[in-house]
């Protein structure tokens, strides 16, 4: 009867696992972060500050905006997450749906050093904690003289100058709608024009990338020579691979940001963590680790960081209300036309 013993062991493991879990939960503040280097930065910079102030360790959950939104919507008023890092669009939606508390300046004094532009579009329900931009990376061995501005690049891709060795972000990846909005600003606000350009580039597009991993995969495997990608990661890649060159085409790039917010119903202690994330020391430490610009105006970047961070005057903050409004139509059009 050997079959029965593994079953019995499994059943014991099952109950042990299930029972051990609830005991560990809830007591601590639960905060979110992206994974990898972001998680390490959250531990070293934000959680360290929080522990210094309160003597408590926050529980840091590596999770993405979509999942946070689902969890907040499933348990309104009793959030399983106490400080959330959301995408720009999700932060606006969460604010509108009444899932967030308004940022409290009395409890988060560091907000006073964060310029208003970093929270204005969110009606004070969330603030940017760090931002980046989508720029261009090329294989310098093949593309010797890349075009200086976006429109020239797009026309050259459409004309087949780089062969089928180009990858732009798809509208369907999380920041695709913002990239599409950015392109409309280049073509006098004309959506039709942008979709025409998307369509014109399609034959020479190795792929409109949907996952950041596959994009870098293609570039690293030298399947493509031109890639539109995030600045911090592009510079990091180029730093290690001398054949890769990253640059910002004119007239700049759109701002892509991580939003910090406190869900409604989370304990007041969560404000301490929010204040920690925005404190000058933690902000600088974070920027040094993840290589992205931060928002506290008291922070002075060291020179080596200044060289690779996209300056604020080069980035345009998307019009999120308009994007949310147009999104279903854009998605439908993308699926039907760009294929």
């Amino acid at each position: 009867m050997r079959v029965r013993s593994p079953l019995a062991i499994g059943a014991v493991v099952a109950s042990a696992l299930a029972l051990s879990v609830p005991a560990a939960a809830q007591e601590r503040i639960v905060v979110t972060s992206s994974g990898g280097i972001w998680l390490e930065s959250a531990k070293q910079n934000f959680a360290a500050c929080f522990k210094e102030r309160t003597g408590q360790e926050p529980e840091i959950q590596a999770t993405a905006s979509n999942e946070i939104m689902a969890k907040l919507r499933a348990s309104p008023g009793k959030p399983p997450i106490h400080v959330a890092v959301l995408s720009e669009i999700d932060a606006i939606r969460a604010g509108r749906e009444g899932l967030l508390d308004k940022l409290d300046f009395a409890k988060v004094p560091n907000l006073n050093d964060v310029p208003e532009v970093f929270r204005k579009q969110w009606d004070g329900f969330a603030t940017i904690q760090n931002f980046g931009a989508m720029i261009v990376m090329v294989n310098g061995d093949v593309v010797k003289d890349p075009p200086k501005d976006w429109k020239a690049l797009i026309d050259q891709v459409a004309a087949g100058k780089y062969g089928k060795r180009v990858s732009f972000p798809s509208l369907t990846m999380p920041w695709g709608p913002m990239f599409t909005w950015f392109l409309t600003t280049l073509y006098d606000g004309s959506e039709d024009m942008v979709f025409q350009k998307y369509k014109a580039m399609l034959p020479n597009m190795a792929k409109y990338w949907v996952s950041p991993v596959e994009a870098l995969n293609m570039f690293a495997a030298k399947e493509i020579d031109v890639l539109v990608y995030w600045d911090g990661r592009a510079y990091a890649f180029a730093g290690e691979n001398p054949w890769a060159k990253a640059y910002i085409p004119e007239p700049g790039a759109f701002q892509s940001a991580a939003m910090l917010a406190k869900p409604k119903g989370a304990p007041d202690l969560a404000w301490q963590y929010v204040d920690c994330v925005l404190s000058p020391k933690a902000q600088l430490g974070h920027s040094q680790m993840v290589k992205y610009p931060i928002v506290n105006s008291k922070v002075v970047y060291p020179d080596e960081l200044k060289r690779i961070l996209t300056p604020l005057e080069k980035v345009r903050q998307p019009d999120f209300a308009k994007i949310i409004d147009r999104l279903p139509a854009w998605l439908d059009r993308w699926n039907r036309e760009i294929r």
């Binding site: 509208l171 369907t172 190795a206 995969n217 495997a221 030298k222 399947e223 999104l327």
Partner: protein
Amino acid sequence: MTRGDGTRLGALLVAPAVAFLSAFFVGPLLLALAESLGLSRGAASAAHYGRILGDSYYLEVTRDTVMLAAAVTGATLVVGYPYALILARARGTAKAALLFLLVAPLLVTVVVRTFGWMIVFGRRGLINAVLGALGLPALDILNSWTAIAVALVHVLLPFMVLSIASTLESLDPAFEEAAATLGAPPWRQFLHVVAPLSRDGAVAGSILVFALAIGSFVTVMVMGDNRTMVLPLLVYQQLTVASDWPFAAALGMVLLAIVLAVFWLQARIARRAAA
């Protein structure tokens, strides 16, 4: 037939599974169904279903989804059947090795597995290097239906092979040898001894592979391109990009209905074959 067990014992045996699924599957299912009909927003409406069924684009995607799953199931059956025969007959370390080989793809995270395929299928990949050395023209199959199908067969193979092999394990080689001794040619041995025994395994494997293939979207997303759209990928888009839960739920219900219809058709055919 053990009629002596009676239906009371039978009912007792199925009760826990039925009770469990009634709570934790039917509950969520009804919730999703209600959402797709807009019940949480007041009046019921089949608008989302009308939008799907009355639009040639969605019908086209539905057709592609079913065809992909059917092709993958067929290919997995053809590739997997001989493997199952060999696995069922292997003993000791050889069996362990074959088993490991089979599950290895499932242990490699999908995103890096895709990188592996890129190196194999890429425009400058291994296959094209071999073709080039042979003086043959290069293939451009990365990001296509072909690439998606190959990648799906690759990971779904274990579900087909183990289903078939588990039914072949009870095959006694003595049967085959007896048949051979009596002068039956190998194909007749296969047709009359092996095939009937493994039929249920092949059906089970096909059901699992079909359901897995028709529901997969990560592989389709990373191995395909803008032309390769399937229903679960539309569900994913509606959830992550558009944040439209009711429409996503309606798309999911359509997919559910298709798979159930295929299961039902299979059961009917099986019953007719058995009768």
